[in-house]
Amino acid sequence: MIGRGVNRVDGPAKVTGRATYAYEYQQPNILYGVIITATIARGQIQTIDVSEAKQAPGVRAVLTHENVPGQGAADESLPWAYWRAHPTISSADIRHYGDAVGLVVATTLEQAQAASLLVRIQYQPATGHFDLRARTAEAYAPAALPAGFPPDTAVGDFETGFDSAPYRVDQHYVLPWYFAQPMEPNACMVVPRGEDLFVYVGTQIVDAARASIAATIKIDPERIHVISPFVGGGFGSKLRVHAETILAVLAAQHLNQAVKVTLTRRQIVEVVGARPTSIQRLRLGAGQDGRLIALAHEAITHTNPKEEFADPIAVSTRSLYAAPHRLTRHRLVQLDVLDGEDVRAPGEASGLLGLECTMDELAYEIGVDPIELRIRNDPHATLSTMCRFQNGFWSSACAKARRASGGAVVRTGRPASGTGGGLSATGWRRRPACNRSWTLLCGCESSPMAAPPCYRI
């Protein structure tokens, strides 16, 4: 089966509309929840008047910070945020524009939508910080990057090595923030049955969804059953559950009735996190032979103060190129904007772009073919312990690329264009698959999934 083209087993269901996604499970007497989001960027809810909304036709409940039960706090000692509690509308604090502030539950979707516009909120705005470039002086080093990687690494003495290099390039890359935006908006249906909750949600990590819900509402995870056979895309945005899940859970518990909630397309950029804006500085120093002498990759991104997120932008760089003097550095600036979250190829997408563009700049500076430059800098000799390439893998990949490209550096007249190369690589922790692991015919294991998980080198 390996290596043959095999049609997807889920193909017939998907192309005939028989594949069921979270919001689509049939449930008698289902109630519809609609989320309300804040329209200030920072501050507090001063008053929230739900009286008109509660009187509206079909409304069964209005949840706000004033009536939701106490929720568990996120346990920062857990290495991955996805397993942590995700308390929602738990205080009057508005952390960023679009922060969830309430849920209206009604018998029909149209009733819930109409009633949600009847909730009257008075805000007390506060000043906030929103501009990354204006606040780089406030940057600090996080204690750790996701999965426990250190924020900084250093080999040799970068400054001395760089100063002595015959060829040097020093580039800045600024990337705007980036949203996962799957086709299926985050959605969740919760069905209470006795002491248990059956949760139909599109999630990339079933176990994390269960753990997060359990920690948030403070019940035994064994009481929570997460069902997620089809996910309409995730790209990182369904690694953790968000307000659509927690609020559906809270509402279902409060009413002891099935409730379903979906984010609107607009709410996805308000309630789900994103890859933060980043500023990268790449400095490469090379010898006459094109071999790297010194390499520095530094990155500044932003994080909401409440839950720190550090995008691991320069982590891949640590394993890619050998040079006697290497330095990577990650710094964070606190901004009152949307949370940072993993978005497809977290760290790699931004960091490799910066690194590989700078390698091309270096190739041009030296006057060597960009693929030849990579061949001369084979990381087989890397001192990093984090990654081991198969013998010869690097040079064989480069050789294939050269054959495909024709091999010559072409720089057109305008300064901003030319031809270069780009390597892409990802690291993934290898562990034994769980007992009930099953393999989709697209070649991916059950957990975790990037939906769809297809990493290419």
Binding site: T39, P57, E110, Q113, A114
Partner: protein, 334 residues
């Protein structure tokens, strides 16, 4: 969306009477703009009169060679009509440049004329917008205004009209047939139909609430080449940054004897440039002429920061489109 009552009508006079009988009522045809606005409660009718099935879908040639298009005709049907494609290709090109296949199948001609701006501050009910709420200010003036107007705007509103079809109809000198509850019909040119924002951007057209658009009529077009060019961030399914509709009639000695020029994406309404047309008429069809016309067309344009680039873009787009149309225009022999 607030609740509303609904009726479907089958003739134009009943339609007008129905809207006159209910305060806060609106016509709905394709619904591809109105429903969007109702969902956000930017439009809040309490009664909808469904005119999508009115017998106003005919696309026909009139005795003097004019083209008459019923207001209920779907955008896609107009674009695909053989008469339109052959004699009014600028109109087909404009329609096909707009929206998506699905939306063109639903949207009506009347609705296309009446669609409202896509300014994101107009759409954001938390932002100050004089169009939604007179006196609330214009958040776009000091905000993100990349898509906004460079001509005919005011400090009360810098929104643009999003229609491509209307730009082609402006260049064609089309008129709009309007039926009122008193059952009289009047003809209004596109230029007279739309209003500049001035101090009252909440009033976008000279159509009264109870009046119904029944048709659009385009006179026989000038002979010569026609083109609609749309410049935008994506290749398809995106509104114009700048667009232009051009028609040229050119004699055997390369003199332009008739010119039509209209811009989209630059103003509160389709922007017919009689200044450019005057600068072209009687001049040779050569680059210097196109440049002069483009310069005159954009005189007085005002950038608001993010949209400054539109001034040069509009100039370039007109200049190049004039050259392209001249290249495809057969020279007339007397």
């Amino acid at each position: 969306m607030r609740s509303f009552s609904y009726e479907r009508v089958t003739d134009p006079r009943t339609a007008c009477a129905a809207v006159a009988a209910h305060p806060d009522s609106k016509f709905i045809s394709g619904g591809t703009n109105l429903i969007d606005l109702m969902r956000l409660e930017i439009e809040r009718p309490t009664h909808l009169v469904d005119i999508s099935r009115l017998p106003l879908t005919a696309i026909e040639e009139l005795p003097q060679g004019q083209l008459r298009i019923g207001a209920s005709a779907r955008n896609s049907d107009v674009a695909a009509n053989p008469l339109v494609r052959k004699r009014y290709p600028v109109l087909t090109e404009a329609l096909l440049a707009g929206a998506s296949g699905q939306l063109r199948n639903k949207a009506s001609v009347g609705g296309n004329l009446l669609q409202r701006t896509r300014c994101h501050y107009f759409y954001d009910t938390a932002a100050g917008c004089n169009k939604r709420q007179p006196g609330a200010g214009c958040a776009a003036l000091s905000g993100a205004n990349r898509n906004h107007a460079i001509l005919g705007a005011s400090d009360a509103c810098i929104a643009t009209h999003p229609s491509d079809m209307a730009v082609a109809l402006a260049a064609l000198g089309a008129t709009i047939s309007i039926l009122s509850p008193e059952t009289t019909t009047r003809e209004v040119s596109i230029g007279e139909f739309y209003r500049l924002p001035g101090t009252t951007p909440d009033t976008e057209t000279n159509l009264a609430a109870r009046e119904l658009i029944t048709a659009v009529t385009a006179p026989p077009p000038p002979t010569g080449g026609q083109r609609y060019r749309k410049v935008r961030d994506r290749t398809s399914y995106e509104f114009a940054l700048v667009s232009v509709a051009v028609i040229l009639t050119i004699e055997g000695d390369n003199t332009i004897t008739e010119a039509r020029v209209a811009f989209g994406g630059v103003a509160h309404m389709p922007w017919r440039s009689t200044e450019a047309e005057t600068a072209l008429t009687g001049r040779p069809a050569i680059p210097a002429t196109y440049q002069a016309a483009a310069d005159i067309a954009i005189e007085g344009a005002v950038g608001r920061g993010d949209n400054d680039f539109k001034i040069q873009l509009a100039r370039n787009t007109l200049r190049r489109t004039l050259a392209d149309v001249a290249a495809i225009t057969d020279r007339r022999t007397s």
